[in-house]
């Protein structure tokens, strides 16, 4: 337990000294994870709504695939993105490998099934005749969609939280496609992995505590939003 106790001390030191490596890793973590969750929501929420509303042959299969995707090993996603962006790969020309763009790509692929899945569940939690009811009140298609977002806001916030949680915790894929380059693609998780391998457990713990803090603050913000929505609902 010694490293944990030292870790707490270390993290205070790092913050106090304004350690550039810590701040760089944190900045990159926020940058990649933030843009990844935004992109994942931009892709995942409309897809989830569309999938939740449409009925077509093979829909069940697609939903099953998405549910499988929710638990897909990130390392495999990393490998897939790596092969995609590799010099001779199909998207090799982009020269994204070992850049934050590659990391964001991998994180989006990891988070999208989760966002779609949770959005799907939120749509599914609506009453069977919700759309008929709204239509019979005279809503146009656009008005129906807006009302849908409003009615499922709690579920959508949950989708965002679930996606963000997974992205923040992700290490294998971003390591593989980002390469843990100092100042460029080194984020908190890859940094922790590296310091553990080098045997500096105190520093690893310190970074871990910092990462937890970020995850906590992000989730706190979303929970507060959710709570306020709930309060408005019941108040």
């Amino acid at each position: 337990m010694q490293p944990i106790r030292d870790g707490f001390w270390e993290v205070l030191q790092l913050i106090k000294n304004g350690d550039p490596e810590l701040y760089q890793a944190t900045f990159l973590t926020l940058l990649t994870s933030g843009s990844a969750i935004l992109l994942a929501c931009i892709i995942g929420v409309p897809s989830g709504i569309l999938l939740g509303l449409s009925r077509f042959p093979g829909r069940k299969l697609l939903v099953t695939l998405i549910n499988t995707g929710m638990g897909f090993p990130p390392v495999l996603v990393g490998l897939f993105v790596f092969l995609l962006l590799y010099r001779d790969g199909p998207l090799g020309n982009l020269k994204w490998l070992y850049t934050p763009a590659a990391m964001v790509t991998a994180q989006v692929i990891i988070a999208v099934p989760l966002v779609i899945g949770v959005t799907l569940a939120a749509i599914g939690s609506l009453e069977r005749d919700w759309f008929l009811q709204v239509r019979s009140l005279g809503a146009s298609y656009g008005q129906t969609l807006l009302l849908l977002l409003k009615e499922t806001r709690l579920g959508l916030a949950a989708a965002m939280m679930a996606g963000l949680g997974r992205i923040l915790a992700e290490v294998g894929a971003v390591m593989m496609v980002g390469g843990n380059l100092k100042g460029e693609t080194r984020v908190l998780t890859t940094s922790i992995l590296m310091w553990v391998q080098r045997g500096d457990y105190e520093l690893a713990i310190a970074l871990g505590i910092f990462l937890l803090g970020i995850a906590f603050i992000a989730n706190l913000c979303l929970t507060l939003v959710q709570q306020r929505a709930k309060e408005r609902r019941t108040g």
Partner: protein, 401 residues
């Protein structure tokens, strides 16, 4: 089936529509129309297609074939049909309230129509008041009781001032008290507007005070429509009879007497020179409404009237029968009495059991209770003769007893 000729402006009309759902559900309505201010009660057993028909009338479902016209304009089911759709609104069997306050629920439809906030709230207040739920305005819609939810849904529909209002079982699963209260409120509200209303129900008696006209659906078809009394007293076949609460239905047969006279028999009941329906080729049934049967203490026991004389004087207008009460049970606000008729004919028919609805006071006054012998009087005009119709595709599934 007969149609009434409407003179007031037609709100909605359907012509030769059909709707297929899967392999075993088929809706076909040949002709139907409704005028402004008219209230039609749509009856039928579960699965008859009432809700589907209502969705077609609510412009929420496009029929596979045929045309729906709203105020003489063919309905457009695409984007351009929005203005038409906004003239019609439906209150569903299980109204879905939006996840927000009662007031926002009631004003949402107006917001869709681009009406400003102040006017929206004023209109909502008016209807909340009419349904007696002003105090709920700020409450969360999802926490309301069943009766309150119904009222909010009704206010939300009425505030739109629709030309056509569709109510799918509006009093379903409400307790007796709030049901009656809501019926009274709805009756008062409907009096004030020129809205055409269709009220779907499987409970006949709840709708009678509200409707001007009745329609009966069976197996996806509108089999009979007409005035309330017309449908209640003269159902076109035994299945309709059972839907409209004519609980005494028996097979009957015709015998020819000498000198060209006909005679109709059904168990203990005999009618001379009956008014037979048009086509007598099919087998016949007779039906008697339970509330049109008069029960008296057996006159042979009470000795108040000479039985013979009574029989004679009313031989044309009444049928008199003897029987024994085998069951007496409250059916609030009436009582349901079952009378087993003495079978004077040795026709091999099982003894007929007559279902009677009576007022509790009268039945107490006449000392009617299980086991007592009674005289049964039925006016000849209340014995309705109808052809024994069976739906050709459903004979095996729906045997008519």
């Amino acid at each position: 089936m007969f149609m009434e000729i409407e003179h007031s402006p037609q709100v909605i009309a359907v012509n030769q529509i059909s709707f297929q759902f899967g392999s075993d559900f088929f809706l076909q309505i040949d002709h139907f129309q409704l005028a402004a201010g008219e209230v039609l009660g749509l009856l039928g057993p579960n699965g008859a297609g009432k809700s589907t028909f209502l969705r077609i009338l609510g412009l929420l479902l496009k029929p596979s074939k045929g045309q729906v016209t709203l105020s003489d304009q063919p309905v457009n089911y695409g984007h351009r049909g929005l203005a038409q759709r906004r003239q019609v609104t439906t209150v569903f069997q299980k109204p879905i309230l939006l996840d927000t306050s009662v007031q926002t629920n009631v004003t949402t439809g107006l917001k869709f129509r681009g009406i400003g906030r102040r006017q929206r709230n004023r209109m909502a207040d008016h209807w909340l008041d009419l349904f007696g739920i002003t105090h709920l305005a700020k409450r969360t819609a999802r926490q309301l009781s069943g009766g309150e939810t119904r009222r909010v849904a009704l206010a939300r529909a009425m505030v739109l001032e629709p030309r056509l209002l569709l109510l799918d079982e509006p009093f379903n699963d409400l307790d007796r008290e709030s049901r009656q209260e809501l019926q009274t409120q709805l009756r008062n509200v409907l009096k004030q507007v020129q809205t055409a209303v269709i009220l779907v129900t499987h409970d006949l008696y709840e709708s009678l005070g509200l409707v001007d006209r009745l329609g009966v659906m069976l197996h996806g078809k509108l089999v009979q429509q007409g005035s309330v009394a017309g449908v209640l007293d003269h159902p076109c076949n035994p299945q309709v009879a059972s839907v409209v609460g004519m609980t005494n239905v028996w097979p009957a047969h015709i015998t020819q007497k000498g000198s060209g006279k006909t005679c109709l028999h059904s168990g203990a009941i005999t009618l001379n020179d009956p008014n037979l329906p048009g086509s007598t080729s099919s087998t016949l049934k007779i039906g008697i409404r339970p509330e049109k049967i008069l029960l008296k203490p057996d006159s042979s026991a009470s000795k108040t009237l000479p039985n013979q004389d009574d029989q004679h004087s009313s031989s044309k207008r009444y049928v008199s029968l003897q029987g024994k009460i085998i069951a007496w049970e409250p059916a609030t606000p009436l009582v349901r009495i079952q009378v087993q008729l003495n079978d004077n004919y040795t026709s091999g028919q099982p003894c007929q059991t007559l279902n009677v609805l009576d007022f509790p006071e009268r039945s107490h006054l006449n000392k009617l209770e299980a086991g007592s012998l009674v005289e049964v009087q039925i006016a000849t005009k209340d014995i309705h003769i109808m052809p024994d119709f069976r739906h050709p595709e459903r004979v095996s599934q729906n045997p008519i007893d």
